[in-house]
Amino acid sequence: MADLSKFVIRVILFSVIMLVVYFCFIIFCAHFLDSKLTKNLNYRKGSYGHMYSRLEEIKNIRDIDILFLGASHAYRGFDVRKYQDEGYSCFNLGSSSQTPIQTEILLKRYFDQLNPKLIVYDVYPSIFASDGVESTNDLISNGDFNKEIVNLALSQKSIKIVNSLTYALFDKFILKENYIEPRVKGEDTYIDGGFVLKKLKYNNKRKYLKEYDYKFKSYQLEAFSNILNFIEQQRTEALLVQIPSTSYRYKAYADNEMFDSMMNSSNSEYLNYNLTLTLDDSLNFYDDSHLNILGSEIFNEKLLVDIKERLK
């Protein structure tokens, strides 16, 4: 028995030392190594999609008419300037690879403050099939460190998130660096209100994609249902939209009819713009799934008409 106690104590001691060293190792890697060399460490403040600027800006936003939610399609597709020109106050809270589990957190966190009259939520099959790790990393890197983020991170059981969380502890409580994200990064410009404007580019990629046979994750479906219930409880109107993607990407989704019927069966109204808008795969997109500024203009004009009817 003495040997067993000694063994257990050794294992515990090793685990503690290992955790401390691991913590230091992650900090070292995040600071000194290029992100390409640190496969499972994606802590990037001011990462792709200007989430840091968006979360800084939202702190000063109150009582708006329209709140946009969704993944990169959303922050690159919903051009807030169009709606502001028409007199609507709005904010685009889209973020890279945002999935329902992150949308739920963001919505609940900012709803009381923003008090929107209409919530426009971009939905498409991939967001329900994704594990959401990339987006959680984005939130950890660019948002506040709080209990809900820790709970979300732990529920996902991913080493990538644990690593980001480890570094976030150091960054937000010890380093406390004052970071200012540049408005212009490469081809992207951050526009007040959360929209990201990309320099005009056209889609020159191949025009064929293999069928994307997705399997929805139960926790994403549960979070989606929570989102809709929450919006209903707040007596706010929700509009589910599917922002257009190139015709060949849209066709690559295994079962669009099933997805449409799933969205239509929710209590909120659903508009699939892949079916109602005719866009050019090369001229109106900059890659196979994102609208370029020309495509976004056509899309927003149509959406604006639909929104106006609902906000009368």
Binding site: M18, V21, F25, I26, L37, N40, V133, V162, N163
Partner: protein
């Protein structure tokens, strides 16, 4: 419950502590291990438990009958029942749909029109492993090499022993069963060894095998649009994936068994340093190769000894075809086995020429040449192992040798590919350094300086945390 899952990380310490603290005698230890093993196995699908219990019960009873019977014919009858039941079960669950498909295909080729109607059969995890284990038990009793198990609990625990239940090593009753006969005493050294071996196995699995798998899946799936260079890289990566995956699994299994005071047989002895095919099969999946050698090859060679060298070649090819078929119900595995049989037979046929060549060019050069031959031919065989079908394998190989495909295109994710090669080199260095030990990382345990020792372990943990593949990749041998 996979070894690299969170479920197992919770299950193992609980079982370990209860086993050593609460189980005071052999009976309690075996009973608790049996319950833990059934819980572990039932985690996949509780229905599998009936199958393993039935198999254990039948072989336990038949073992007793074979031993106690004085009539040679009766002994043989009981043995045949055991063989028919075990192989029948294996054939039904693993090969029935394959046989139906092959039957329909061959008749359709001849012009007859048969419609395909496959049965919806779930393959129980680990069935190929534990049926071979129980088969060896009854055969050894029949041959008089082994006495039957004294009590049922020990035997049931032996068949279902969770560290090696789902993917081996395929233990011989003569090695593992007697270990259930004595009360286990806790050994600090054995448990530390077990943990070290598990850590090494986990590193090989989650850092090397799973990272290789990411690229291998990408290359083998999209092979039609990939150039020859990266097709070769894909095949080489699979060679290391299958080794790191299975030897990693074996290390975790053997390490886990050590935590409970059991010694399982070594399953891999740095096979990629083999300089001949004969040597390779003494180092690769040793528990299966030695099983097939003892129960298939040797009796076969003895029965056709009049054929002399031709008999050996025939037995080798047939044995390796069976070895290939054991891996799975697919023609790719049969051709894979046939190729291996061909390689090792060729080596046997050319044994005198090889000796002469060795004298001419020197032993060292001969070893290097031998190593190249083994690695190149093994890589070729591995393409068949990985391919979904024979057409897939043939097209893959055709594209490698197609001169119009000899261009180097851009590969997305090249930096990650280089990282994988770095870790493969690291694994090979450690394998080389530890090639004479029980397991490769064992040499670190000889370091007297505990700071150095712990630093090595912590380094491996850090590498696992930073570089493990996060997409779920089941162990390759679980499908067998």
């Amino acid at each position: 419950m996979l070894f690299n899952s969170l479920d197992f990380a919770i299950f193992l310490p609980i079982v370990f502590l209860i086993y050593w603290i609460a189980c005071k005698n052999r009976y309690y230890q075996n009973t608790f291990l049996l319950l833990a093993s059934y819980f572990f196995y039932g985690w996949w699908d509780w229905r599998f438990l009936f199958l393993i219990a039935a198999s254990s019960f039948l072989d336990f009873t038949l073992g007793q009958r074979i031993f106690s019977s004085s009539d040679r014919k009766e002994k043989k009858r009981f043995l045949i029942i055991s063989i028919v039941f075990n192989l029948g079960m294996l054939c039904f669950f693993k090969y029935l749909n394959f046989f139906i498909d092959s039957f329909v295909d061959s008749f359709n080729l001849m012009g007859a029109s048969f419609s395909r109607r496959n049965l919806n059969i779930i393959l129980p995890v680990g069935i190929s492993f534990y049926t071979f284990q129980t088969l060896s038990y009854t055969i050894d009793i029949y041959k008089g090499k082994l006495n039957p198990a004294r009590n049922m609990t020990s035997f049931f625990a032996f068949v279902s022993f969770f560290p090696q239940l789902v993917a081996g090593p395929i233990e011989r009753a003569s090695n593992l069963l007697p270990q259930f006969d004595n009360k286990k005493e806790f050994s600090f050294k054995e448990c530390s060894n077990g943990l070290t071996q598990m850590l090494w196995g986990l590193f090989k699995k989650v850092v090397i095998a799973d990272s290789c798998a990411y690229h291998v899946n990408k290359i083998f799936t999209g092979y039609e649009s990939i150039d020859s260079f990266f097709l070769i890289i894909g095949a080489i990566l699979f060679v290391f994936q299958v080794y790191a995956d299975f030897s990693g699994y074996s290390d975790i299994a053997i390490g886990t068994a050590r935590l409970f005071g059991f010694r399982l047989m070594t399953n891999f002895k740095t096979p990629y340093f083999s300089t001949s095919w004969g040597e390779f099969w003494k180092r690769w999946h040793i528990s299966l190769s030695s099983w097939i050698l003892d129960y298939v090859y040797n009796p076969l060679v003895l029965s056709i000894r009049d054929w002399q060298a031709k008999g050996i070649v025939f037995a080798l090819v047939l044995t390796f075809i069976l070895n290939g078929l054991w891996h799975g119900a697919n023609w790719t595995f049969i051709v894979f086995g046939f190729l291996l049989g061909l390689f090792i037979s060729t080596e046997f046929i050319l044994r005198f020429q090889r000796k002469n060549l060795s004298k001419r060019i020197g032993k060292r050069n001969m070893s290097i040449l031998g190593w190249f031959v083994v690695m190149i031919t093994w890589t070729l065989a591995c393409i068949l192992f990985r391919a979904e079908s024979l057409t897939h394998a043939i097209n893959y190989m055709r594209l490698i040798v197609d001169p119009s495909n000899w261009i180097i295109q851009r590969y997305k994710g090249l930096q990650y590919l280089l990282q994988v090669f770095f870790f493969i080199s690291m694994m090979l260095c450690i394998d080389w350094k530890g090639k004479n030990f029980d397991y490769s990382l064992f040499f670190i345990r000889n370091y007297k300086n505990s700071f150095l020792r712990w630093s090595c372990y912590i380094f491996l943990c850090c590498m696992i945390g930073l570089y493990m593949e996060t997409n779920d990749q089941p162990f390759i041998y679980f499908q067998f």
